[in-house]
C-alpha cells in the first residue's frame, strides 16, 4: 500500500531519533512505525471541546480576507453592464479557478 509507504517514510527519521526501537518481530516494528508516523503528523483531536479553537484557526482573519471587501462582480458581464451605467472602465481579475472561490 502506498499509504503505508508514505507513513513509513515519514516515520524513519522519528524512529532514528527515538529510543532505538528494536524490531523484535514484524508486528511490533510495524506498530512502532505507525505510532511514530502518527506522532509526526499529529492532527489535533476533533471534539466538542476543541471545535471552536480549530475552527478559528482554519477560518481566515479579517486581514487575510480583506480582498473580499472589494465589491467584486463575480462575472465579467455583470461588471460590463455596471461599468456602462457608471461610465467607468472594467477591471477584470481572471484566473484558472474562480478568484473568489478556489483558485
Amino acid at each position: 500500500m502506498r499509504s503505508r509507504t508514505c507513513w513509513t517514510a515519514a516515520a524513519v527519521g522519528a524512529l532514528a531519533l527515538g529510543a532505538g526501537v528494536a524490531a523484535a518481530d514484524d508486528d511490533a516494528a510495524e506498530d512502532a512505525v505507525d505510532a511514530a508516523a502518527a506522532a509526526h503528523v499529529a492532527a489535533p483531536e476533533l471534539t466538542a471541546e476543541t471545535f471552536a479553537g480549530i475552527r478559528d484557526f482554519i477560518l481566515p482573519s479579517t486581514a487575510e480576507s480583506a480582498w473580499r471587501d472589494i465589491g467584486w462582480y463575480p462575472s465579467l458581464w455583470g461588471a460590463v453592464v455596471e461599468a456602462h451605467a457608471q461610465k467607468k472602465p472594467v477591471l477584470l481579475w481572471a484566473m484558472n479557478g474562480h478568484p473568489l472561490a478556489c483558485t
Binding site: 508516523a37 509526526h40 472594467v90
Partner: protein, 315 residues
C-alpha cells in the same frame, strides 16, 4: 481601484466557451500580456482593464502591488484618450445575453450554500514561507430536496436518534469538498476513490421549530494512478497516490417548517498526503494535518460563486 468597476471571473471558460460574455473577453484578451501565447500553456489568466465597449486598455499577470498599480495607471491614461463611442459603444449592453450560460445559474436559491475554507494545521516541519499561512476558499451547494434529505427526518425524530446521511450526499462531500486545495487546485475525485464516507446526523434539541442537529462522521479517500505533480515543470506521468483521511464534526440549526438551515458549522480534521499537478504539494507529499471548515455563505454576489467542483455534482 475606485476608478474601475471590478470583476473576478474564471478564465478557462471565458477563453474557451462561445457565449456573449466569453466572446467579449476573447475580443480584447489577445491584445494583453499573453496574447498569441501557446507555450508553456495557452492560459490567458491575469488582470485586465477594458472599456464597457470591449476595447483593451492594459493588462498584466502579477501579484506585485506596484506592478498592478502601474498597469491601472496606464489603463486610465488610455481611457482618457478615448471618445465616448469608443468607451461605451453605440448601444448599452443587455442585462443578460440570451446565450449566456454560467455555473452560477445552478445556485440553490431555496437550498443551502456553504463557504468551504481549507488550511494546513500546525505541524513541526511547516515551511518557513507563504506556504505555512496558505488557505483557500470554495463553496458547497445543496438543493432544497437535498437539505430535506439531510435534516428533515432527523428533526422529526426522537432526541438523540441517529440517522445516516444518504450515501449520495456524503459521497459528494467527500469527492468534491474534502480535497487538498490549500495551495492550489485539486480536481474532484471519482466514486472509486472513496474508501469510506460515513456521515450521521443526531437530533440534540428542538426549540421554537428550530432543530439543533449534530453532524459527525469520517471520510477517507485514496486516489491512485499516474499523473504529473509539478505543474508545467513536470513532464512525466508517474505512479502517484493522493489521500485524505478526516473525522467530521459540526452542528446545523434547521427550520423544520421552512426547510431552511439557519446556522451551520462543520469541521473536517485529519491527514492529507500526495500531490496533484496544480496544488503545489510536489515537495510536501508526506502525511500532514489539514482542516476544512464549512460555514454558511452570505447573500453577496461574491458568495454565489459556483463550487470549483460543480462539474462533479452531476447536476
Amino acid at each position: 481601484m475606485k476608478s474601475f468597476v471590478p470583476a473576478a471571473d474564471e478564465v478557462w471558460r471565458l477563453q474557451n466557451r462561445d457565449d456573449a460574455e466569453c466572446r467579449f473577453f476573447q475580443g480584447f484578451s489577445e491584445e494583453g500580456h499573453y496574447g498569441g501565447r501557446k507555450q508553456p500553456t495557452t492560459t490567458r489568466q491575469g488582470i485586465y482593464a477594458c472599456t464597457p465597449s470591449g476595447k483593451f486598455l492594459a493588462s498584466i499577470n502579477s501579484n506585485g502591488p506596484e506592478h498592478v498599480a502601474r498597469m491601472l495607471r496606464k489603463a486610465l491614461a488610455r481611457w482618457e484618450t478615448l471618445s465616448d463611442e469608443e468607451r461605451y459603444g453605440e448601444t448599452p449592453p443587455v442585462a443578460r445575453p440570451e446565450d449566456l450560460r454560467r455555473p452560477e445559474d445552478n445556485y440553490p436559491t431555496d437550498g443551502l450554500a456553504l463557504r468551504v475554507h481549507t488550511r494546513d494545521l500546525a505541524r513541526a516541519n511547516a515551511p518557513k514561507d507563504w506556504r505555512s499561512a496558505a488557505w483557500n476558499l470554495d463553496f458547497a451547494w445543496f438543493r432544497a430536496d437535498e437539505v430535506r434529505a439531510l435534516f428533515a427526518d432527523t428533526a422529526a425524530g426522537e432526541s438523540g436518534a441517529t440517522r445516516v446521511v444518504p450515501a449520495e450526499l456524503s459521497s459528494r462531500i467527500a469527492r468534491c469538498h474534502l480535497l487538498d486545495n490549500v495551495r492550489g487546485q485539486t480536481p474532484a475525485l471519482g466514486a472509486d476513490d472513496i474508501e469510506s464516507a460515513e456521515l450521521r446526523t443526531v437530533l440534540e434539541s428542538v426549540e421554537a421549530g428550530i432543530a439543533r442537529i449534530r453532524i459527525e462522521g469520517h471520510s477517507k479517500t485514496v486516489q491512485r494512478g499516474k499523473w504529473r505533480i509539478e505543474g508545467r515543470a513536470d513532464t512525466d506521468e508517474r505512479a502517484r497516490e493522493l489521500g485524505f483521511d478526516v473525522k467530521l464534526l459540526g452542528w446545523a440549526h434547521y427550520d423544520t417548517k421552512a426547510n431552511r438551515v439557519t446556522a451551520f458549522e462543520l469541521l473536517a480534521v485529519g491527514v492529507r498526503w500526495g500531490a496533484t499537478r496544480y496544488n503545489a504539494r510536489a515537495d510536501d507529499q508526506e502525511p500532514a494535518p489539514i482542516g476544512v471548515a464549512f460555514t454558511l455563505a452570505g447573500d453577496a454576489p461574491a458568495d454565489h460563486v459556483a463550487p470549483a467542483t460543480i462539474w462533479g455534482y452531476g447536476w
